[in-house]
Symmetry: C2
Subunit: 125 residues, 2 copies
């Protein structure tokens, strides 16, 4: 029986969050055993924040939650691909659809930021 | 000027290798500063193997190299997406097109292995 190998990286595995229709990579985050269990049980993406040392549901503050459609692991069972329907249009805290809006061009990283919302409005206290 | 944050994870960042046409995730690996430099300079995917503690060019043994088309980083500059043209059809050492051929179905991980080559032939000594 295949089981996810959380030991290799101190309890975490990288999780690629992908749009279930276009396959666009929306974000990459880390998941531990509890976050994976919550993700599979609730059908929403749950993650583990290394900087805040806590579990969180993607979109719990912004409202931009993710409806899980399919979950895959790889040949070594040490990474996850989670295909989701992104609520609210944007996955990134900057307001961009995807976190990967910075491209290598002619020897430098170039931002292509096209925010769909104003982070100051969405994350205001 | 944006620079990749290799410090957060002890010199490494996760790199998602994606088919440049279909956006299928082919594999996830780790890249350090030297492997990124080699990838950008040579146009082939270079990686860092944690288990073997060495740099390697994807496909150096199997011949299934990857032609880099585009490279992205994310809002925190701590992860990479590398869009590639996969030579030889398969990215996974099992012979599968993608490493992510194991899906969560009704409470268990189910393999959907459809190898395009025989690993025993390709990796024979």
């Amino acid at each position: 029986m295949i089981q996810i190998d959380f030991e290799k990286m101190g309890g975490l595995v990288p999780a690629i969050i992908q749009d279930y229709q276009t396959n666009e990579v929306l974000m990459v985050a880390f998941i531990d055993e509890k976050a994976l269990k919550l993700t599979l049980e609730t059908g929403k993406t749950w993650l583990f924040s290394r900087s805040r040392n806590k579990h969180w549901m993607k979109g719990e503050q912004s409202g931009n939650t993710q409806e899980v459609q399919e979950v895959y692991t790889d040949c070594d069972a040490d990474a996850l691909v989670i295909k989701v329907k992104q609520n609210g249009g944007a996955a990134c805290h900057t307001g961009n659809r995807s976190c990967f809006y910075v491209r290598w061009e002619d020897g430098a990283w170039v931002e292509h930021s096209e925010p769909l919302f104003d982070p100051d409005e969405v994350y205001k206290k």
